[in-house]
Amino acid sequence: MIHFVVLISRQGKVRLTKWYSPYSQKERTKVIRELSGLVLNRGPKLSNFVEWRGLKVVYKRYASLYFCMCIDPEDNELEILEIIHHYVEILDRYFGSVCELDLIYNFHKAYYVLDELLIAGELQESSKKTIARLIAAQDSLVEAAKEEANSISNIIAQATK
């Protein structure tokens, strides 16, 4: 299973984390620090796998972002690379040629997409279209709510409460 997903920028800034195994806040910080040291220092022509604490970290660099997933040693590394790519493609489709800034400003959306892709450390959806549809449906729900919340009458109601 996938233990966690981390997106790190080339400067070592964390862009997204998702933990499927229990790690305390302290451990999370430590893991990220350790991993960014490990992954960011690897040269460009090396393999995309790092053995780490008895587990394996599969990472792939897209532009300035490193997508890292930590898996059990017996998991299929190439499959995880494909899943990472799959995720990037979905993001790309969702944001329209995604870049790091998209993920910075829409951190939570990248997170929602990930939630549709994986659950409990397992792949739950292999169809890009389906994920796009589900996300769009949820977005429209949110938009509707937002409009309502931002309507003048609502603000007035708030103000006069």
Partner: protein
Amino acid sequence: MSGPSIMETLFQRTLEDLIKGIRLQLIGESAFISKAMEEIRKEIKSTDLQTKSIALQKLSYLSPLHFVDMSWAAFHCIECMSSPRFAQKRIGYVAVSQSFNEHTPVLLLITNQLRKDLGSVNEFDAGLALDCLANIATVDLARDLTPEVFTLLGSSKVSVRKKAIGVILRVFEKYPDAVRVCFKRLVENLDSPDSRILSAAVGVFCELASRDPRSYLPLAPEFYRVLVDSKNNWVLIKVLKIFAKLAPLESRLAKRVVEPICDHMRRTGAKSLMFECIRTVVSSLSEYESALKLAVLKIRELLMDEDPNLKYLGLHALSIVAPKHLWVVLENKEVVIKSLSDSDSNIKFESLRLVMAVVSESNVVEISRVLLNYALKSDPEFCNVILGSILSACSRNVYEMVMDFDWYVLLLGEMSRIPQCQKGEDIENQLIDIGMRVRDARPELIRMARSLLIDPALLGNPFLYRILCAAAWVCGEYVEYSTNPFELVEALLQPRTSLLPPLIRAVYLQSVLKVLTFCIHSYLRNKSSGLFPFTDNLEGVVSESMSKGKTQEASDLPTPAQDDVFNPRISDDNPYEDLPLENNGEDSKFDSFEKNGFTRESIVNLLNLIELAVKPLLGSLEVEILERAQNVLGLIELIRQEFPDQLSPRKEILAKEESEVSKLIRSMNDAFCEELGPVSVTAQDRVRVPEGLVLEENLKELDTICGDIQPSTSSFFAPRYGERIEESLASDLQNGEDSEPSRESTSLLIEHRKRHGLYYLPSSASNDYPLANDLRSGENDRDETEDFVRLTAQSLAPKKKPNYSKPRPVVVKLDEGEVTLSVASKKPSSKYDLLSGVIQDVLQETNLMDKSSRKGKEKVSSDVPQGSKENVQDPEDPRREKSGLRKSKHRSHGKERKHKDPDQVDGKKDGKSERAREKSSHRHGRKKTRQRAEGPLNVSAQTPVIPDFLL
């Protein structure tokens, strides 16, 4: 503090504002964040959910990315989560799954909210709740929400159902009893026509099967169908993983799946799937020759690929296959060797592991040579990994691979000289160990030790100190094999030794004392044999005193006959009767020394040299050094009385005094000649607890006395007086042989040993060395002789065959107890035991229920078989679950019955499966689950049987 004002609410910063702010801030990031946190703390108290949720959203942005604590906001998370608006709810859920853990105090409060959302008609609400449950499931949550998850497993909405399937894994983990409720439905999902549901279900089974494959054997037909029908690579990979676990358990299953797997391997274009096929074949199906050949072909493709990922995986596949089929590695040896210098450390390590897997006694010399060359070229880290692998491989099983110890000792010397070498401790241990175990290696050992000691450059490298320490000890202990003891003394006392740490310096001094004693003794014997014709007499005295010592030893023992068997020091001697022992061989050695000249002048020079070098050490602050320097000087003082004048020896006085001094020297020499033997690691266990010793007594007061005694690092070089203790231990050892070794005594002894390590002989049998490469261990089983034979034929780098003209020297081994047993295979943790137990229960139960439905061909439905009697008593009937019985009571009730069931089943099944089958043909029910359920009982009995239609 009051909540935020209306203005603050109106002009609340959104998440986007916050992110922009962080990027544009001028006051420093941490300052900005703490300011933002202040805002958030204020806003989150708002009664307006919109304001609150935005504050929470900002917090859940800051928490993971800027490591801000958000556990204090737990209650606010719950408030947002229960909002009727989806946007706010989602923010709440995300925050909860991010920040909650088992210790969150308000966790109990969310159970009802989760239940409500799981039952929501809105698929997204249910999805959120499932996502959240997957992250934070605890035992309580899993137990309380099992019915809801069960319902969702049958949901008509695909997106909800697949999430429920994913969540079920967590629920099972936390609450194994959920299996009784949900397992059937989970299995049904394997039959789903929807590929997404199938994929989720296969993923769950893959994870479950990796923990306890045997329980899932009955489901093999389902998996087989997926293997043949599915077009989705990711699903196929999971199914292959399942089969990799199942195939070794059931040979007929293996036979059945090997063809489809090969098909996939041939046909697929996806490397991930191909690699999974390869891995499945090499790990579980390697006995099928055609499949293995195909896999090897594909492995070679991977190895030849430019892509480092594929190369790495190729090597990885090789290392899986290596233990069983070494020839595969040998076929690809060039690639493997070349990969040692790859720029990717993963690849380097993997290839090193492989190289170590093919090491055998026939090629160890060549491989070590090749590896040493690579070590010289590598970065320090990898260099030391290589050295570590060589050391642990060669020392494995008491150096079973080493045929030529002269070569190995030289190799150790060569390793010590590699500048990046940091394996000082391992080399130290092995040098001493070889010295003690392998008599024939001692001359070479001392030559090597001399060359190390003599080189002043080595004294500058702190990593070598441990090795030098061992070398110094070897020189002192086996000085009789040295060609030039004077040179040794010079080396031991050279000025640069002041660089050594004190404890190692103390070892140097002790060695000086030993060498000095040896020289004087030799000189005196030499002289006496020349001057006085009482050599025989002397010999007699020596042997008398020796035998006296021995009989004294032996008199402690009840039966001296046992002695020969158990006392390592005495039994050591037995195999060597044809070899020259010290006493017998001395005369012949003296001849050679005479040439070197144990002349009066040389001895006097020696004394002067030692005195000169050691005197300054009397000012040392280190007691170890101080004491030993005192010893040396005291001895010299004594000897000086015998050599009062350098030039004119007064014969008469000499003759009188000599006998006194020579007696002293002789007895010291005797003491030093007594050989140190290896001590079995289990020796401590066999010491009988003396009568009257109360082991449970609280010895706490002793702490104040012993607390400050630290085991010294030089404990390996126990001074002689320690040996007596050891001997009495050894004799106790035989006494205690019959009596049960007591637990307490062991632990006490260990404790004692820790405190007074100085007084114990090193019990470090060679197998104590940590294996640098655990993967390798056990790969070279002895019974793989065929492989070795093959390997000899095509040994790596066949430069020259090692010269085996001389027989392998005897290596002293102790009793069997010394050989550390291979670590028992890891048992699955109790949690998984529990889980698999329940799963087996459930499968057995279904089996019972559905004996009925062998031939029924009707469509699978979630309906429970109508007519079966068992069904009536089945407390886990899913529909009943739904009908709202309170879980906990109900379940514990059911559990009791369940435990009875298997017995009934066993009883019925064993004899009457034939009859049951007949009967079942009349019944209706669900077909597939039943057929597969045929398996588990027989599996757990003895001969596993897989449903016939599969085979």
